[in-house]
Each structure stands twice: as structure tokens, then as C-alpha cells.
């Protein structure tokens, strides 16, 4: 019961303190809001870049061109050899006739050209999907060694470059998210320090009349929690409505068909929850650190 009374007093005091130091509280809330908006943007970019990379990586394949003069038995041997590759996910055979048909269906001018030719100039191919995109080059090299294989293509150079760029973007956004979380903690911590400074007499008396350190710290920690929570509301609303609107306006793709945005549900809800938790936890830890430093308790 005593614990509940102390807790009740802490909650009441923290609300009072937020209202009594309204300008400081507002400053802290605005700072938290701004940094959490940046956190939200960074999260949205990170998740979408991840999504695009994953989708693109799934699309990355090695096209294996088979020699023109191979027998059907040799084709079978090549298929067996490809299926034995460690990095293979899927091997799909496409005969030259299938490919010709595909090309004829895809483009009118190609259809005319191919119809004009008496013979089929194309080659039998295997499309190899890989498990690990980073090992695309060694896999292609291994394939080239198989008897009866003329060449194995995967867009050397370009693929490595794209994967490299995505990797840098991913890492950079993660660093930005972490940095912004630290900045939020620092801002809340500083605001609480000012509040503590303005209440140092009260705190001193509390210590001298026998308040426990926990009873002194709790209202400040709860205050940080409140500030963080309120500060995360605007970023949450902006994330939900902003992302949904962006998704609707762009039709879920950016610039080209390949850059697909992550579907809003449940993505925005998870992001919102994350922002709420970051705001609250960072607020609590920020103020806890400030109290410990200022009160030497």
C-alpha cells in the first residue's frame, strides 16, 4: 500500500512538473518530435531500401548459354551439374524454341525479325537462381567450367555496383537511426536537467526528510516517459498518414517498376509502435541519467 502511495505521488508530481515547467516541457516535446520524425524517415528509407534490395537480389540470376552442337544427353548432364552447385536455388531450362516464342511475344519488331529468319539463331539456356548474391561471380565461374557450356552471364560489374550501393545506404541509415536516438536521449536529458535545477530545493528537502532515492528519481523518470510519449505522437501521425498517402499517390512504386514500396499495413503500425517505444524508453533513460548526475544518488 505504501509503495502504491509513493507511486501515486510520483505520477501526480510528474504531471504537475510537466505543467509547472510547461515551456521547458514544450521545448523537450518539440525536440523529441523533430528527432523522431527524422528517425521515422530513416526507418522508412532503411526498410524500403532493404525491400528493394531483397526484391532485386531475388531477381538476380545467371543465364547459362549451352553450346549449339550439344546433344540432348549433354544438356541433361549440364542440368545435373547445375543442380549440384552449392549456391543454386533453382535451375530452369529454356530451349531455344521456347526462348524464340517468348521473344516473339514480347516485342513486335523482334517477332518480325525472328519470323523472317529461316533458322532459330538462339541457344538453349538454363536460368540459375542463386541462394547468396554475394557469391554470384564464383558461381558463374564454376558454371563456365562445365562441359558443353558456352558462357554464363549475370551482368558483371553492374550487379556488384548496385549491391554495393545498397549496402552503403543500408548501413548509413542504420547509423543515422542510432545517432538520432542518442540525440533524442540527450535532448530529453538536458531538459530534465533544467527542470531538476529549478526544483533543487524541493529535492534537497526530500532527501533530508528521508525520501528514498527511488522516490526522488521516479517522478523525473515518469516525466521523461511522458515527454517522450507525447513527443512521439506527431511523428506517429505523420508516419501513418504520410506513408499511406505516399503509397497511394505513387501506386506503390517509385520511378521504375523495380523500386517497389513496402505495403503500408502492417509496416506503418510496426514503425509507429517502434517510435512510441523509442520515445518513451529514451525519455525515461535520458531523465534517469540526468537525475543521477545532478543528485549524485
Amino acid at each position: 500500500m505504501k509503495m502504491f502511495r509513493i507511486l501515486n505521488r510520483c505520477i501526480r508530481d510528474s504531471f504537475k512538473s510537466v505543467m509547472r515547467n510547461i515551456s521547458l516541457s514544450m521545448a523537450s516535446i518539440v525536440c523529441t518530435t523533430i528527432t523522431l520524425i527524422l528517425v521515422a524517415i530513416a526507418i522508412i528509407v532503411t526498410v524500403n531500401v532493404n525491400n528493394v534490395t531483397t526484391l532485386m537480389e531475388e531477381e538476380l540470376t545467371v543465364v547459362v548459354f549451352v553450346n549449339k552442337d550439344v546433344t540432348s544427353e549433354q544438356v541433361k548432364n549440364i542440368e545435373d551439374a547445375l543442380n549440384k552447385l552449392e549456391n543454386k536455388k533453382e535451375v530452369v531450362y529454356k530451349s531455344k524454341d521456347e526462348r524464340k516464342l517468348e521473344m516473339q511475344n514480347s516485342d513486335e519488331s523482334l517477332k518480325v525479325t525472328l519470323d523472317y529468319l529461316a533458322i532459330n539463331p538462339l541457344q538453349d539456356t538454363f536460368i540459375v537462381t542463386v541462394l547468396d548474391v554475394d557469391d554470384l561471380a564464383p558461381t558463374a565461374r564454376e558454371i563456365r567450367k562445365i562441359d558443353g557450356v558456352e558462357s554464363a552471364e549475370y551482368g558483371e560489374g553492374t550487379v556488384e555496383e548496385i549491391v554495393g550501393i545498397f549496402d552503403v545506404i543500408k548501413k548509413a541509415t542504420i547509423v543515422i537511426v542510432i545517432a538520432l536516438v542518442i540525440v533524442t536521449a540527450f535532448l530529453i536529458s538536458n531538459t530534465i536537467k533544467l527542470t531538476i535545477f529549478s526544483r533543487r530545493n524541493e529535492i534537497e528537502i526530500m532527501r533530508l526528510v528521508g525520501s528514498s532515492n527511488t522516490a526522488i528519481k521516479l517522478p523525473f523518470i515518469f516525466e521523461g516517459f511522458l515527454l517522450g510519449l507525447v513527443g512521439s505522437l506527431v511523428p506517429i501521425i505523420l508516419t501513418i498518414y504520410g506513408y499511406m498517402l505516399a503509397y497511394e499517390k505513387t501506386g506503390g512504386t517509385l520511378a521504375v517498376e523495380a523500386i517497389k514500396l513496402v505495403k503500408p499495413v502492417p509496416f506503418v503500425l510496426i514503425t509507429s509502435l517502434f517510435l512510441l517505444v523509442i520515445g518513451a524508453i529514451v525519455g525515461m533513460f535520458g531523465s534517469s541519467g540526468a537525475v543521477r548526475k545532478y543528485l549524485k544518488i
Binding site: 500500500m1 509503495m3 530545493n201 526528510v209 528521508g210 525520501s211 528514498s212
Partner: protein, 233 residues
């Protein structure tokens, strides 16, 4: 019965100043003791060590069997709930009324509202401020503010009342009134009182035990009534 036991106690501050040197002292339960000395004699340091605002550098300070110097920061509150402290500058919260200021001490330690009210009223009656419960500190005289501070210090029925120059900011007449309040508390409640002061007239008139400090060293321990005003302190 020894209530406070100080043995070979030293306090050296970080800047190298020795505030207390080899102090050994016993105070019995229910005693009223004055600690006197010039500025810088170490009386405030001694008082602060009693409520564990300062830790002794060497030696021990025991109150009611508790080695105060060994207390960890997070357990100091347990000691402070057993004692009351009266300050020269009152340390009242300006935005709270007289009643709220006294009740604050009990709220902080988690007492129920129904328990708080009679205790606060009792303490205010003891210091003669029952009719000022709704006043704010800035509406009170210096003497009245000090009475509120005393009421707050005794509201939790402490075994020990530590007073750090409680009459330092008051005129002689008001000082006398405050001393009467403290004497009543000592007599009626049996509370041990340790009071640091440089007001020799009060000390002489009250005829209590007097401990004299000079440069952190105990230079005199005068039994009840044996201290003389013309003594070189």
C-alpha cells in the same frame, strides 16, 4: 545510555582542509547539547556528519547503533527518517502552505492522508502555529518560518533533532522564543537535540552541555550549566 558515539573522527575535504581532527565524543539519549565555535571551527561539518551529508574520512560516527559513515547513499534515507533537521535558512517550499510544508515530510515517506493530518496538526500546535496552517512562507515572520521548519523536523517523532544555527537569522527576542520551543520538545518528547550555534548568550542562558570546537579540534566539553559567557571561545 549513549545515543551518539563519535570515535577518533577525522574529516578532510578534497581540497586538503581538515574540518574535524581526532574527535571523540558521546551524547546520551535525551540530552540537549550545544556545539559552539568560530566560523570554520568544524561545527557545521560535525552536524552534517550526523545526518550523513558528509562522511568521516577516518573514525566512526554512530547514531543509535548505526555506523553512519558506513551507510550507502541509497540507504541514507533510513537514517534520515529517524531524525529531524532544522536549518538556519529554514528551507521551506515557497509554493506550499504551512500545513503542506509540514505534511511534505510525511508524504515523502509514504504515509496515508488520514495519518498525516493529526501528526501535522500536533506538530504545528507544539510550535504554536496552529492558526497559520493556510499561510504561505512569505506571509510569515522569520521566527514563524523557523517554527514551521521545526514542526516539519519533529512531525515524524524523531529520536534526534539536529539544528544547524537555527537562530542565526533571527533577532534576540525571536531567538529566545525558538529556544523555548526547542527546550519544550527536549523536555516533553525526550528528543535528543544537538544544536550548532555561535550565539554564546543563548548558550549561556540555556545552561546545557556545551561542546567547543576550534579548528576542528575539541577544545572543551562543558557539562550542563558550567559554561561561562566570558570564556574564550
Amino acid at each position: 545510555m549513549k545515543f551518539i558515539q563519535i570515535k577518533n573522527c577525522y574529516k578532510v575535504y578534497k581540497n586538503g582542509v581538515t574540518a574535524i581532527a581526532d574527535l571523540t565524543l558521546d551524547i546520551d539519549k535525551g540530552e540537549f547539547v550545544f556545539i559552539i565555535g568560530a566560523s570554520g571551527s568544524g561545527k557545521s561539518t560535525l552536524v552534517k556528519m550526523l545526518y550523513r551529508e558528509e562522511k568521516p574520512t577516518k573514525g566512526t560516527v554512530e547514531i543509535g547503533g548505526i555506523n553512519v559513515g558506513k551507510l550507502r547513499n541509497r540507504t541514507v534515507y533510513k537514517l534520515r527518517r529517524k531524525l529531524g533537521i532544522v536549518f538556519q535558512d529554514f528551507k521551506l517550499l515557497p509554493k506550499l502552505t504551512v500545513y503542506e510544508n509540514v505534511a511534505f515530510a510525511l508524504e515523502c515517506i509514504g504515509l496515508k492522508g488520514s495519518e498525516i493530518r493529526p501528526k501535522v496538526m500536533n506538530a504545528l500546535e507544539m510550535v504554536g502555529l496552529k492558526e497559520k496552517v493556510r499561510s504561505f512562507p512569505n506571509e510569515l515572520s522569520g521566527g514563524e518560518q523557523q517554527r514551521v521548519c521545526i514542526a516539519r523536523a519533529i512531525v515524524n517523532d524523531p529520536k534526534l533533532l539536529i539544528c544547524d544555527e537555527p537562530t542565526g537569522n533571527l533577532d534576540p527576542k525571536t531567538s529566545k522564543e525558538i529556544m523555548n520551543v526547542l527546550e519544550d520538545i527536549n523536555k516533553n518528547l525526550g528528543t535528543t537535540i544537538v544544536m550548532a550555534t555561535h550565539d554564546k548568550e543563548i548558550v549561556n542562558r540555556m545552561k546545557k552541555r556545551v561542546i567547543v570546537l576550534d579548528g576542528g579540534v575539541l577544545t572543551g566539553d562543558h557539562l550542563k550549566g558550567s559554561f561561562k559567557i566570558n570564556e574564550n571561545v
